[in-house]
C-alpha cells in the first residue's frame, strides 16, 4: 500500500542556538516566496536507510517554513525490492545480468503506483531508482520534477543505467552527492550533499557522565588515547586495515582502538568479516570490537566524542557521513580519499587523507605528535560541516532549487 507519512513537529528555532538567528532568518526569507506551494517527496521506504532518515527530519522542518510538503512512500512487493536491490548493486558497479523480466517487474510496480499516488505537487522530488519511472505520470508542462540520486553512478552497469536513463532524462533536473557520481545527461545536474542532524541522538551534545558510563561499559580507559572507527563490519570499510594501522601507531604511542558497528547477527557477510576482525585483533585487550544493537545512536555519539582521533579507512565509500558526524564533534579525522570523503576532508584543512595502511598510521602518529594541529583540524572540520553538511543546509539547498525551478518557468 502506498502511503503519505505524517511526522511530528521539529521546531526550527531549536537550531538557532547552534547556527545563529541569522541562519534561521535566512531560511525563512528563502521560504517566503514558496509559502503554501506544494512539494512532494517520494521514495520507497518509510523506515531504514539514509533517505528515510533524512526525510524524517527534513519534512517537519519544511513544514515549519509553511511549505505544503508531503512525503509519499511507493509500494512494492518482494519481487520488486529484489529487482531494485539488484539494480542498486549493479549501479554501484557490481556484476549483474539483467533480464527482461526484471525490467517488467520494475515497470509494472511503477505503473501501479502511478495509478495510486496523486503526483500533482508543484515540485515533485523522486528519490533513487525505485520510483524513477513515476515520471511517466507527469502531465506535460505542469509541475517540476527532479530526481535525487543517492547512489555512486561513476561506474554503473551499462544495461541497467541505459534502462533508467530513459526515465531520468525526462526530469527537469537530477541531484548527485558528488560531481564524480554524476552522468552525462541532457538535463541540469546539481550537487546535493547528504546531511546530518545536529539535534539527533547521534549528534546532540551529551553529558560527560553519560560518556564516562559508555566507556566504562566497554572497558575503555578515558585517560589513554582512543582511536575509533564507526562502521558496519564490511570489507569495504577495511576494519582489518584499521587494526594494522593501529599496530604501527602502537609502536610509538600507547593507544586503544575501538571498532564499533551494527550487530552482524542478521548479516551473513558481516558475521564473516567480524570473525576476520577478531582473528586480526588476536585477543589484544586494547582493541575493542563492539557490536552495537541497532546502531545505538547515543552510544555511537558517546564513542565519537570520547575519541582522540576518528578513522574512516574505507576502500570504497558512498558519501561516508560518519566523517561529518565526527567533524561536527570537532574531532580530528584520518580517512581514505575515496567516494565522498574528500568532499568532507579537505586535506590538511579539515582533516587528513590517507591512501594506505601505512599512510593512515603516519597521519595518526602525526596528529598524536601535534595535538594543537589536531585541535585546529577539528575546529575547521566543525565549521565545514556547519556550512555544508547539516540538515538545515540541505533544506536551504532544496529551497534554492525550488526557487530556481520556479524562476525558470
Amino acid at each position: 500500500m502506498s502511503e503519505t507519512l505524517a511526522l511530528g513537529r521539529i521546531p526550527l528555532d531549536d537550531y538557532a542556538e547552534l547556527l545563529g538567528a541569522g541562519e534561521i532568518e535566512e531560511l525563512r526569507a528563502l521560504a517566503s516566496p514558496l509559502r503554501g506551494r506544494s512539494i512532494q517527496m517520494v521514495n520507497s521506504t518509510a523506515v531504514g536507510g539514509g533517505v528515510a532518515e533524512i526525510l524524517t527530519r527534513l519534512v517537519p522542518l519544511a513544514e515549519e517554513l509553511d511549505l505544503n510538503i508531503k512525503w509519499e512512500v511507493m509500494s512494492g512487493g518482494e519481487d520488486f525490492f529484489e529487482v531494485t536491490k539488484a539494480f542498486h548493486n549493479a549501479l554501484h558497479g557490481a556484476p549483474y545480468h539483467a533480464s527482461q523480466k526484471d525490467f517488467d517487474v520494475f515497470l509494472s510496480y511503477n505503473q501501479r503506483n502511478r495509478e495510486k499516488l496523486a503526483l500533482d505537487g508543484e515540485f515533485v522530488v523522486i528519490h533513487d531508482p525505485q520510483p524513477a519511472a513515476l515520471i511517466e505520470a507527469r502531465k506535460p508542462g505542469t509541475n517540476h520534477w527532479v530526481w535525487r540520486c543517492h547512489i555512486d553512478l561513476s561506474r554503473p552497469n551499462r544495461v541497467v543505467w541505459d534502462f533508467l536513463e530513459q526515465f531520468v532524462s525526462k526530469y527537469d533536473g537530477a541531484m548527485f552527492s558528488s560531481p564524480e557520481f554524476s552522468r552525462q545527461l541532457p538535463i541540469p545536474q546539481y550537487l546535493f550533499y547528504p546531511a546530518i542532524d545536529p539535534l539527533s541522538e547521534k549528534n546532540c551534545e551529551l553529558e560527560q557522565d553519560f560518556i564516562a558510563q559508555v566507556l566504562a561499559r566497554y572497558d575503555i580507559d578515558p585517560q589513554r588515547t582512543i582511536l575509533t572507527q564507526i562502521s558496519r563490519f564490511d570489507r569495504l570499510k577495511d576494519p582489518v586495515g584499521v587494526i594494522r594501522a593501529y599496530r604501527i601507531v602502537k609502536r610509538y604511542f600507547d593507544c586503544q582502538l575501538v571498532l564499533a558497528g551494527g550487530s552482524a547477527s542478521d548479516d551473513p557477510e558481516g558475521a564473516v568479516v567480524l570473525k576476520e576482525v577478531l582473528r586480526e585483533a588476536d585477543s589484544d585487550r586494547d582493541i575493542k570490537v563492539l557490536e552495537l544493537p541497532a546502531w545505538a545512536p547515543l552510544e555511537v555519539n558517546a564513542l565519537q566524542r570520547a575519541s582522540t582521533i576518528v578513522l574512516q579507512k574505507s576502500l570504497r565509500e558512498g558519501f561516508g557521513l560518519t566523517v561529518s558526524e565526527a567533524l561536527w564533534k570537532k574531532k580530528p579525522v584520518v580517512a581514505s580519499a575515496v567516494g565522498g570523503i574528500p568532499i568532507q576532508i579537505i586535506h590538511k584543512h579539515t582533516g587528513l587523507l590517507a591512501h594506505s595502511v601505512e599512510g593512515a598510521a603516519y597521519q595518526i602518529r602525526f596528529l598524536l605528535s601535534h595535538p594543537e594541529i589536531a585541535a585546529k583540524l577539528g575546529e575547521h572540520g566543525h565549521e565545514h560541516v556547519k556550512e555544508n553538511f547539516l540538515i538545515t543546509q540541505k533544506l536551504k539547498r532544496y529551497l534554492t532549487l525550488f526557487l530556481t525551478l520556479a524562476r525558470g518557468s
Partner: protein, 219 residues
C-alpha cells in the same frame, strides 16, 4: 544622527551548485577547461568558494589553486593561482584571462608536467544564484550596525564579497553605502581594506563592527 536618504537594504544569497560537463585530469586539461567553462563556473571556483570555505584563512583561496596543490603537487603553480586576489577584478573575463595565463605559461615552461595525471580529477561546476531581501533596512549607522551584526554568513558574503562583481567597482556594498549614503568616506575605505583572505567571515565582520563602533564614539 546622520540619516541616509537611500536606505541600505539587507539581502541574503543562496547558491545551488550545478555540475558541469567538463573535468580535468591534467594541467593541460585544466587550461582547456578554464578557457571554455562558463563565467558562472569561474565565479563558483573563485568568488563563491571563498564564501563556502570562509572559516579557512591559510593556504586556501580558490578551488583551482587547491586542486593544483593537492592533486598535481605543483606547489609553484598553486601559489601563482592562490595569489590572484578577486578584489583586483571587476569582471570574470579579466579573472579568467589571468587564470589561463598562469596555467598556460606553466604548461609551456614545463611541458612534461602539463600531461601528468592528477591524483583526482577536477570537476568544473557553476553557481546558480538566488537572492532574497531580508525585509530589513538601515538609514542610520546604528541601524546599519545592528543589521550587519545579525546577518547570516551568506548575507554577509553577498554584501561584502560577491557585491564587488555586481557593483563593477573595486568596493563592496557596505563601503559603497557608507560613503554614498552617510558620507563616511574614511570609514568606507577602512571597511574596504579588511582583508578577506586573511580573515574568516566572522573575524571580518567583527573588524567591521569595531570600525563602526569607533565611528559612533566619534559622533
Amino acid at each position: 544622527m546622520n540619516a541616509a536618504e537611500t536606505p541600505f537594504e539587507f539581502f541574503t544569497v543562496s547558491y545551488l551548485t550545478r555540475i558541469g560537463n567538463q573535468s580535468a585530469g591534467t594541467l593541460a586539461e585544466l587550461l582547456t577547461g578554464l578557457e571554455h567553462c562558463s563565467d558562472a563556473s569561474i565565479f563558483h571556483h573563485t568568488f563563491q568558494t571563498l564564501g563556502s570555505h570562509h572559516f579557512l584563512t591559510e593556504g586556501f583561496s580558490n578551488d583551482f589553486a587547491q586542486w593544483v596543490l593537492s592533486d598535481t603537487n605543483r606547489n609553484d603553480l598553486a601559489e601563482q593561482l592562490a595569489v590572484l586576489d578577486i578584489r583586483d577584478y571587476v569582471s570574470i573575463a579579466a579573472l579568467r584571462r589571468d587564470l589561463c595565463r598562469a596555467v598556460g605559461d606553466y604548461c609551456n615552461t614545463y611541458p612534461h608536467f602539463a600531461g601528468q595525471s592528477a591524483l583526482e580529477r577536477f570537476y568544473f561546476c557553476e553557481s546558480v544564484e538566488v537572492t532574497v531581501p531580508l525585509g530589513r533596512t538601515a538609514r542610520t549607522l546604528d541601524e546599519f550596525r545592528n543589521g550587519v551584526a545579525h546577518l547570516s554568513h551568506s548575507g554577509f558574503y553577498f554584501h561584502f564579497i560577491s557585491s564587488r562583481l555586481r557593483l563593477q567597482l573595486r568596493t563592496n556594498d557596505f563601503s559603497h553605502w557608507l560613503a554614498d549614503g552617510l558620507g563616511l568616506q574614511t570609514l568606507s575605505e577602512s571597511v574596504n581594506h579588511i582583508d578577506i583572505y586573511t580573515n574568516t567571515l566572522d573575524s571580518a565582520r567583527a573588524k567591521l563592527l569595531r570600525l563602526i563602533d569607533r565611528e559612533r564614539r566619534k559622533a
